[in-house]
Amino acid sequence: MGLRIGTGMSLMEKLEILSDAAKYDVACTSSGTERKGDGKGIGNAVKAGICHSFASDGRCISLLKILFTNECIYDCKYCANRCSNDVPRASFTPEEVCRLTIEFYRRNYIEGLFLSSGILYNPTYTMGLIYQAVYRLRHEYHFQGYIHIKAIPGADPEIIRLAGFEADRMSVNLELPTAEGLSRLAPNKHRKTILTPMRQIQNGITVNQNEVALYRHAPQFVPAGQSTQMIIGATPESDYQILNVAESLYQKFALKRVFYSAFVHVNEDKALPALPGGPPLLREHRLYQADWLLRFYGFEARELLSEERPDFNILLDPKADWALRHLEDFPVEINRAPYELLLRVPGIGVKSARRIVQARRSSRLDFSHLKKIGVVLKRALYFITCSGKLMYPIRLEEDYIARQLLGTKEKLPFEADGVTYRQLSLFDDRNFVMDQEHQMIYHRTEQPAFMRGASSA
């Protein structure tokens, strides 16, 4: 890797190569920091984050998401920039990164910088390059916008610490859910070296929070917290395993976010699965739904899935699926049920649950109120009563409700553009296979009750 190809490139060529190389990184959020401008530089940060544009795949563009360089000494099988690939290579200079960030930011194209990098020479050197760029941005250009950088596993802890004081968010990519998958597809990376900086950042944040509590103007260390991402569908882990990993990351490493990235085939390699149906988008979607249930709805991974039922239902979202298996907890009385229980009703989200709790203080709520408040009644009506009455006389029966819920079509973010639900579902569920007659058969150890009902009908 001694040769540095492409030093004579124009800024346009570099940006094309290095943003193209960074696009598989999912995290593009700019949330978590609230910071007013100090009036002497440029920029501020908004707690909720701001998206600025949306790419042709519908994903948000919030940050200038680039690699510092796409030269890399590693050979991860799933990565377009692995050293054995023959792709054009380029590197920015810190000056170029700063100029692009500032000029894009001034025009309100972006909310800040997301700087990642391939590994040039060694992890510490690479981390040094990232640090140099963000240091200049903060101290020479007085940039007070959002900065998200990667902590490179294996880099000197001191330089990660220094970089953490310039960044809002840091992330270390877990890459694959299990250590076994990692050693198979990313031979140069090790679970331990990935978790070490994650722990370091976590401890740094805790220590820093105490400092800031004591000295209000102490420099802030990674104030927007850390995140990570896992590739879904490149290795054979079940949803249950993945969700458990996510849960322990939230609990033990105090992560702000875990991102799931449906595996996209960029390299031909015998170690990688063939995905004739395209990236497993539905699986990714279900994981995000479950992730939300973990973070905002008070669910635990073992409530949603188990060793016996290791994968999500492809036809029903995780919450409806859970509710169907726990009909004994329903119906819930809207005018009395505690907030935590309201959250567990399909069709009621965090916002509508809050509104219900507020509104019922002044008046008794009925179904027409709920509709106006924003409850999705066509999903919720099987699980709730208002003043002791169901909306319609219905049977509280798993098969019946399941069929009704399947009838109200779930809105999925990727159904448009001519991709049908069936095409996707085949490859999203590891247990769905085609038999010789091209009929779908369901290979589960335990068929859900409503499927049994449907096939006999």
Partner: protein
């Protein structure tokens, strides 16, 4: 009983003044309506014109803040900026409901009340459009490093948008022009921002100014366009999802949707 209709101008001051007069004249909220701007006339109703008065509007504002808190006041401000004509009535009845004392807890939490819910919906709608402006405003650098942006929002959100950018770019000279309403927010480096109403001549001057890009502008716009294209993952292409987040009506002044030069 005959209805009384208070007719006021379409501005926060106008509507709040009408609210004040309704109480001053001891009108009953259930028989009173506030109408924004001239509209269709009702036969069996008494019309009364209300002239905006910043002083009494301020009194109403203070009462709202004191009785119902800053959050409720902000919701009412957003609602008053909405395009919908029934905003005056919704806000009036919301304030009346609050003063009557029948809403327990937060005023804007009383969503079972139709008027409060309407105010809440208007507020949420305007708030989300203001947020969209923070997302989608695109500045063009003109000669002399002046940053210039044009917007055409449905609601009158410019005054909610300006503080954000003034805080963000304290050292920049920038202008955001609402082409639908003919108003502009102007920020001079290290100064406070202000709004101006543009007359026809000024509008034309602004519009012609918008085309004199600085040298660097074309390069940066081109870089950003390429950046947006290369960031999309081909295997996940989903234009309808893109359009759901970024409706076509906002794209007119957005740099990344310009035809390539």
């Amino acid at each position: 009983m005959e209805e009384t209709i208070l007719v006021c101008e379409d501005s926060p001051e106008g509507i709040l003044t009408a609210v004040y007069r309704a109480y001053e004249w001891k009108l009953k909220p259930e028989h009173t309506r506030i109408q924004v701007g001239a509209a269709d006339l009702c036969l069996f109703a008494a019309y009364r014109e209300v002239t905006a008065d910043a002083g009494v509007a301020g009194k109403v504002a203070n009462t709202v803040k004191r009785r119902f808190g800053q959050d409720a006041w902000e919701d009412i401000c957003f609602a008053l900026a909405a395009e919908a004509k029934e905003k005056g009535q919704a806000v009036y009845r919301t304030i009346a409901a609050g003063l009557s004392g029948r809403i327990r807890g937060k005023l804007m939490g009383g969503l079972a009340d139709d008027d409060i819910r309407r105010t809440f919906e208007l507020s949420r709608h305007v708030h989300s459009e203001a947020h969209r402006m923070l997302m989608f405003v695109r500045f063009r650098e003109l000669e002399g490093k002046l940053l210039f942006a044009r917007i055409e929002p449905d609601a009158n959100v410019l005054e909610f948008v300006m503080p954000h950018f003034a805080d963000r770019f304290p050292l920049e000279n920038f202008v955001i022009m609402d082409v639908r309403r003919g108003i502009a927010g102007i920020h001079e480096a290290r100064r406070d921002w202000f709004l101006v109403r543009l007359d026809r001549e000024e509008r034309e001057r602004f519009s012609s100014m918008a085309l004199r890009y600085s040298e660097e502008e074309l390069e940066m716009a081109e870089l950003f366009r390429h950046f947006c294209v290369s960031l999309g993952i081909r295997e996940r292409k989903n234009l309808s999802l893109q359009q759901q987040f970024l409706p076509l009506k906002y794209r007119r002044f957005m740099t990344e949707f310009d035809a390539p030069v």
